[in-house]
Symmetry: C2
Subunit: 222 residues, 2 copies
């Protein structure tokens, strides 16, 4: 292969790789990917949950679809979008974790909005996995119920954070409670743990969310 041809080859090849990078280069698109990791969503739901106009959400979805990272299923009036495969989540995970480890600004943002998060003493997936077999721990899935139905940690109870207050008394006071959520930056579990502690329960946050749990090869039920 001569030099000019070799350059052409590389240009075309890296142009393809960059399609994936470009898809991951917008905050809103990353948020969509993170959201779709919970399960499929209609355009309207995505628009609402990411605070975008429907047209804007649709356009970002087209961009993700052009990079073959999401797929749509049409059902009646609604287009249901989902991640095209597990690797999409893994790639987003790699980007997220690189940002976590290299960009101190991520910590600054977290600290600015989630005061004293360390106090919630997050537990890691592997740690929870061990304790699950001991059976001396109660796991709460504090996401919206629909997400629980789409898959949850085996044995976890579905207690959407808004419903927590109401079911508080049914929770055993003698066992440790671990609340989990959508991902490492999902605040539902922070709120749940704070409420539980204020009522005298021993509660912790699971550091990872369900998609991370699943991607780590841990068992998922339902």
């Amino acid at each position: 292969m001569n030099a000019a041809t070799h350059r052409e080859f590389k240009d075309r090849l890296f142009e393809q790789f960059a399609r994936v990078g470009k898809a991951l280069s917008s905050p809103k698109r990353l948020e969509i990917v993170d959201l779709l990791a919970q399960g499929e969503r209609t355009v309207e739901e995505i628009a609402r949950e990411t605070a975008m106009s429907v047209a804007s959400a649709s356009q970002h979805l087209q961009a993700l679809k052009a990079a073959r990272m999401v797929e749509a299923r049409r059902e009646g009036l609604y287009a249901h979008y989902r991640l095209a495969d597990e690797d999409v989540f893994r790639t987003w995970q790699a980007v997220r974790s690189l940002a976590e480890s290299r960009l101190s600004e991520v910590d600054s943002v977290v600290e600015a909005y989630l005061v004293d998060r360390d106090a919630l003493e997050a537990v890691d997936a592997t740690e929870l996995m061990e304790r699950l077999s001991d059976g001396n721990v109660v796991v709460l899935d504090v996401r919206p119920e629909e997400e629980y139905r789409a898959g949850h940690i085996p044995g976890a109870l579905s207690v959407p954070v808004d419903a927590l207050e109401a079911v508080l008394q049914t929770l055993p006071r003698d066992r440790e409670i671990i609340a989990y959520c959508r991902g490492p930056y999902c605040v539902f579990s922070d709120e749940a743990v704070a409420l539980l502690r204020s009522r005298g329960y021993r509660a912790h946050r699971l550091r990872q969310g369900l998609p991370d749990w699943r991607a780590a090869g841990m068992p998922v039920e339902g």
Copy 2:
């Protein structure tokens, strides 16, 4: 946290994550990351190897530095750039492999420029690792010698592809030869295997490059 604050939190957080995505959204920057995975380089070297002007290379390097993905070391007149850590390569690997699995265009490009690549019967890292202990295989590092010096597969011989012709007769005819290179799309090993085969050697290509080998936790020498 009220809804408006929550939105602000997410916006700032995902803005940070997107810095990594943006850094990976240009073909040239991906090529730089891929190149730096071989070891550090000066701006001029990067510009030459990626077919860019020096000013352009410098700007892309600034962009990567702003995302804290590369670091520079100044030595006399020269700025030596390197990947900031192993996770940067792993993230690039994730992007690359997502593109490979989801974008059929990657295959089209490879097939268009590397005719009959399958014929070279690539060997996987794990497979090579097993055969290494048997000792019945010769491993050739066909990258420029300097890259060999910066780290290579234990026991591999440094035979830059241009030098292969000259050392052909010193290679044993009775053992299988496996040539490796910079990465899965590096063509040096293709050329080496083609030449070796045309002279009657049993030769194969290692599917992964040295950075992939290293990232997979395989031993690296030198």
